[in-house]
Symmetry: C2
Subunit: 309 residues, 2 copies
């Protein structure tokens, strides 16, 4: 709780508008499957609510992992906004959550994960669904860090043209392009960007927010964020808490290259050993076949087929 309060307070003082406090897999994400949180999420949300003065305390909800009841509890703890995240083709699973959050007076982001897996017209269709449910903002998320700047421009640009609400972009750094992709999103009309101090996040991490603020200052965008203060949050508060430096090692690089979920990694290593294959060939093939999370049982089949080629 002390750590969350320190970081949330620092981000707030630096001028960050939306501050998200939730398990990486959303409300109720703390589980055997997704990894246990050290502290109950309600306590963490309350800790942040107690220190945020200007920013908007936000939570993440992935329908199917978290429920409407979880969201109500988070709102009672002080959350004022929610990011409702679905796979890029599954926006309709978020309708009830978005409508409920709006009825509670929360700000709502509709958040399309793994957007690299769908063509721009599909991303547009799904973003419009979010808008029709009442979302205040829609987000294109490159959850696997698989997009090149042109991929970002195509998808974000198409969504900006198609919806009336503001559009955001969420990057991962698997291909070392998180900052550049964020710039590409702004170029085509996005007005919200995500980041984390030192890029802290699963695998290759997210956009390194203190660097992003510096770059945006240099380009001439107004961010509302104090560059020195956000640097200090990164170096004085977040970095000392990190368990490992945020480096792009081979596994996240290969996930971004193949465009697949990080949950595939362990299963792929096991299958590679069993069939005497290079795990990277399996990941590349899974990407080609556009496998999505939940299809981990297919990895053995793919490995078997590769081994027999």
């Amino acid at each position: 709780m002390e750590q969350v309060a320190a970081v949330a307070g620092g981000l707030d003082a630096a001028g960050i508008e939306y501050i998200e406090v939730t398990h990486g897999d959303g409300l109720a994400g703390s589980s055997f499957n997704y990894g246990r949180s050290a502290t109950d999420e309600e306590e963490l949300i309350k800790a942040a609510a107690g220190v945020i003065k200007n920013g908007i305390l936000t939570v993440l909800l992935i329908p199917g992992i978290g429920t409407i009841e979880d969201l109500k509890r988070a709102e009672a703890c002080g959350a004022k906004a929610v990011r409702v995240a679905t796979h890029v083709t599954e926006a309709d699973t978020a309708e009830q959550h978005i409508r409920m959050a709006k009825s509670q007076g929360m700000k709502v982001f509709g958040f399309l994960m793994m957007s690299h897996m769908a063509p721009p017209e599909k991303v547009v269709e799904q973003a419009k669904l979010f808008e029709s449910y009442g979302a205040d903002f829609v987000y294109v998320a490159d959850s696997a860090g698989a997009m090149l700047p042109d991929d970002v421009r195509a998808r974000v640009g198409a969504v900006v043209q198609a919806v009336r609400v503001p559009v955001g972009f969420h990057a991962h750094n698997n291909l070392t392009l998180a900052t550049a992709n964020s710039l590409a999103a702004l170029e085509v009309g996005a007005t919200f960007l995500d980041g984390t101090c030192r890029g802290l996040g699963a695998g290759a991490g997210n956009t390194q927010i203190e660097a992003l603020v510096g770059v945006l200052n240099k380009v001439g965008y107004q961010t509302g964020v104090d560059f020195y203060k956000i640097m200090d949050v990164a170096e004085d508060l977040v970095e000392p808490m990190m368990h490992r430096p945020q480096v792009v090692r081979n596994a996240p690089l290969m996930l971004g290259y193949a465009g697949v979920y990080s949950s595939f990694l362990l299963h792929t290593y096991r299958a590679a050993e069993r069939f005497n294959l290079n795990p990277r060939d399996i990941l590349a093939e899974l990407g080609k076949r556009r496998m999505v999370g939940g299809q981990e049982d297919m990895i053995v089949d793919v490995a078997y087929q590769l081994a027999n080629q």
Copy 2:
């Protein structure tokens, strides 16, 4: 020597064309001022020469630090190419070194450091000087990691239009844009790019080459480099040798933001303490005044003026 031989051999087997083995400040850079090498440079060049089969062993020479005699010794140790590097406005200091290297049959790169400090027309003028001395290739180098993709396009694009020889680009990652800037250079006609495994380099480091190869594969460029093999060199050979992870901490970020030399850092911290200033304000002011390496004595003056404002 064993470390250099292992890495050079790995890079060679992965398909890297030019493999540079020299102190970061070039031949004879091992000194009190620039930092001592653990091993004599001639031994390191010989160690690389003994393992490289397909690549071209390259050395770095900064006229004023290294001399023509140093270059002759490096050539006798097996170097086949040299990168002669000058400040972006000082190409004429390299004429004798370039002509001598050509007369020895070496491949020669003319390398313009701190290119962000000069406008495109000045970079072109200096690149043409290199070409007139006989350089086989010219390089635009973003030594402070201060460029945005548009800065790269402007300078590299102008040089590509103006010279007949192939053009290269050398990035630093201070603003987390090294890979994106490398892509921008290719877009406007560069055909040579630099990189290091895991981005290993001073401060924020250079372009992470294994990520760059993956990105170039995805875009559809032919690099001649084996993606899996270069990843393995990074993770199995280079990473275990690194003294610290290559993370963009605040100091290199601020240097890239301000566009100043890393040699300014220590002097700036001292001046900040003496005049009770934020060192970042001093660095930003040094960047605005376009101070170059060797002007460290001006830092106290700048700090004094800032303190009296």
